[in-house]
């Protein structure tokens, strides 16, 4: 798995996109793994990539756009250097998850689905990480964090924002 953080994303390269498509198409893989691989490479799905994928797989741009916008994982803009995915589902709600979500917004100064002005942290909602027995939970740069509270969240964010 590519860590869900923006530190190692490659700059745009049409050749890389074509290489990714080629590598997957030879395995007979479908659209989803290709889009996932492109996002893992560049941190998001650049508009140019959508056109190349459509052309290569003999699909319409509308088809590819339809898939890219259906799944929550796909981003159309680059994320911040760090990614906080906070669980907003019921098990985490029952352990104060919504109060924690408010804290996260206050600490970062922006809403869910947004990236802080200095490009440090993107905050996203996720609906269940399977960590319901250690709620409230989150994934920070792909690493699971459970039994979260305001102090732990503050420590986590200040460690990486400094």
């Amino acid at each position: 798995m590519t860590p869900d953080s923006g530190q190692n994303f490659a700059p745009w390269s049409e050749d890389r996109v074509r290489a990714i498509i080629g590598a997957h198409a030879s395995n007979g893989a479908s659209l989803l793994p290709i889009l996932t691989a492109i996002q893992n490479e560049f941190g998001h799905l650049p508009e140019e990539a959508i056109a190349i994928v459509a052309e290569s797989l003999n699909l319409s741009r509308a088809d590819v756009h339809g898939v890219a916008t259906f799944y929550h994982d796909f981003r159309r803009a680059p994320p911040g250097r760090h990614m906080l995915k906070l669980c907003r589902a019921e098990a985490c709600q029952s352990m104060g998850g919504e109060v924690l979500a408010q804290c996260a917004m206050r600490m970062l100064g922006h809403k869910f689905g947004e990236t802080s002005g200095d490009g440090s942290v993107t905050l996203e909602s996720v609906y269940c990480l399977g960590l319901c027995a250690c709620a409230p939970a989150a994934l920070f740069d792909g690493q699971p964090v459970g039994r979260l509270d305001e102090a732990k969240l503050q420590a986590l964010l200040s460690e990486f924002r400094s």
Binding site: M1, D4, S30, L31, L32, P33, L35, T36, D63, G66, V67, F70, Y71, H72, D73, F74, A89, E90, A91, C92, Q93, S94, M95, V99, V126, Y127, C128, L129, G130, L131, C132, A133, C134, A135, A137, L139, G142, Q143, P144, V145, G146, R147
Partner: protein, 518 residues
């Protein structure tokens, strides 16, 4: 050499298992003790994670929950010899929470290194496939049918009937698809099994393949499970190496291999036909049934699509026998169910037992009430599409039919506990909101109904035409229940209607007591 076991399960890691393993290693080096750290799946006693188990005289002594700062003290007081300590829990198998279970599917989970084929073999791995190969395809399907196994994903459809339909389909390309898109909040059994005993899942899929005549298997795992994905990738390579997968598996004439397909964040892809669409590279939009996937499934070919736990149960049925499996359970729910206790519960974790224990026993005796110490107000059973049960329904036995009779469902086995600070109108609103976020958009009752539901519940909560709007929500729920194409729109009414029915006092202008409690 002393063997020490620390979980590598994502939930254990989320509370510090990696840091504890590092601390143990460092301390052993510092004091000059020769140890081997084995990273296992989790036993599922999550309130005790990070849990350390030390092998002493062939038995394992447990300590937990351990913080990295406890490690030095544990060594000093003789943890490596199983000595007493404030964190000592005694012989792990004697912990009542574990002793009370019937661990069949999860027998190896938390015990073995999930990536050690030798460990897997030593604890019975591979025996189910051996037996399947010796009794033949027809007899395997007969065993699965006779055992009374029903789909553990939530629908409860008899597995044997599904397999037979695919087996009887004309020869040609067929598929085994494992639904590992465990999206329900409050469920984590699939994740634990994929991280703790993935080889069992592969063995089960191979058995399904040889039984119905399919050589190709696909596991569709959600992207929210990066650790499960990483473990399975490694495990697939090991299984190929050991010829559990690949050409002529286990020296038979059957070929069977598995491909891991990772989702991209979509709850509705847990619905079997949306999942098939997603594998085919499209939007995860639900297909109308019929045709059933058993007749026209993946790429239009006959397809067995089963949940992780359903498939895994087949290995138990084959090693223990259909009769033994069938002898466990309650009513028409046979065998064991790995029940997952999550949310605001004191003893949270995975508890595998035969069907039939009451909801009250599970929450009050097994879970020991809330983590917050406040009274239990509601339990949501079966994920975001499951009903909220009040204490007055705690006598309901854990059984597909008994839950259905009380307008609920057991779903994938999740139980999420809420204390008395919960606002049930807010939870009803969330159910509608979640449906609106995750709706695939194909049918109107789900796509439009969920958004209208959110708006109408908002009116109720702000005190606007409460009585009329409650009637409107009830009417809307009926439309969604009977008019939706799949369970997302069709079952969203369960949490909404149960909240309305059992917690009517919460519907109206937001009560001030809740603001005080927060």
């Amino acid at each position: 050499m002393t063997r020490i076991f620390v979980a590598r399960d994502a939930a254990a890691i989320s509370v510090g298992a990696d840091r504890v393993a590092i601390a143990v290693d460092r301390e052993a080096k510092r004091v000059g003790r020769n140890i081997e750290i084995v990273r296992t799946g989790s036993r599922g006693l999550f309130w005790l994670e990070p849990l350390i188990e030390v092998e002493v005289g062939g038995r394992r002594v447990a300590y937990g929950p351990v913080a990295p700062s406890d490690v030095e003290g544990l060594f000093a007081s003789g943890m490596l010899d199983g000595a007493r300590h404030a964190l000592a829990l005694g012989i792990v198998d004697n912990i009542p929470w574990l002793g009370r279970q019937t661990r069949l599917t999860f027998a190896r989970c938390g015990v073995i290194d999930p990536l050690s084929f030798a460990d897997y073999r030593d604890l019975g791995g591979g025996r189910a496939l051996e037996r399947a190969l010796s009794i033949g395809a027809g007899a395997v399907i007969e065993q699965v049918t006779k055992a009374g196994l029903r789909g553990r994903g939530g629908a409860g459809f008899p597995t044997g009937i599904k397999w037979r339909a695919v087996a009887e389909a004309p020869l040609g390309q067929k598929y085994i698809v494992c639904n590992a898109d465990e999206g329900d909040s409050g469920t984590f059994a699939d994740r634990m099994l994929m991280e703790g005993d993935p080889l069992q899942l592969f063995e089960a899929m191979a058995i399904a393949g040889m039984s119905v005549g399919a050589s190709h298997g696909i596991i569709y795992c959600r992207s929210e499970y990066p650790h499960a994905i990483a473990t399975m990738r490694e495990a697939i390579a090991i299984a190929r190496n050991e010829r559990l997968l690949g050409a002529r598996i286990a020296d038979s004439q059957f070929d069977f291999d598995i491909e891991l397909h990772v989702g991209a964040g979509s709850y509705v892809c847990g619905e079997e036909t949306a999942l098939l669409e997603s594998i085919e590279g499209r939007r995860g939009q639900v297909r109308a049934k019929p045709p059933l996937p058993a007749h026209r499934g993946l790429f239009g070919r006959p397809t067995v699509i089963n949940n992780v736990l359903t498939l895994a149960a087949v290995t138990t049925i084959l090693t223990e026998g259909a009769d033994a499996y069938h002898s466990l359970g309650f009513g028409r729910s046979r065998g064991t169910m790995p029940i997952q206790l999550g949310g605001n519960v004191k003893h949270s974790g995975l508890f595998e037992i035969p069907f039939g224990m009451t909801l009250g026993e599970l929450i009050d005796e097994v879970g020991e009430g809330t983590a917050s110490g406040r009274p239990v107000k509601a339990v949501q059973a079966g994920g975001p599409l499951g009903a909220y049960f009040p204490r007055s329904l705690f006598d309901t036995p854990y059984d597909y039919e008994a839950f259905a009779a009380r307008d609920g469902l057991i779903g994938h086995g999740g139980l999420v506990v809420f204390d008395d600070t919960v606002d049930m109108a807010k939870q009803a609103r969330f159910a509608m909101k979640f449906c609106a976020i995750e709706s695939c958009g194909k049918c109107t009752p789900c796509r439009i109904g969920s958004t209208r539901g959110v708006e109408t519940i908002d009116k109720i909560r702000s005190g606007e035409g409460v009585k009329e709007n409650i009637a409107l929500v009830e009417d809307l729920c009926n439309t969604m229940k009977f008019g939706s194409l799949c369970a997302l729109g069709g079952f969203t009414p369960y949490p909404v209607m149960s909240a309305l029915k059992h917690f009517r006092e919460d519907f109206g202008p937001a009560p001030t007591r809740l603001q005080a409690a927060e």
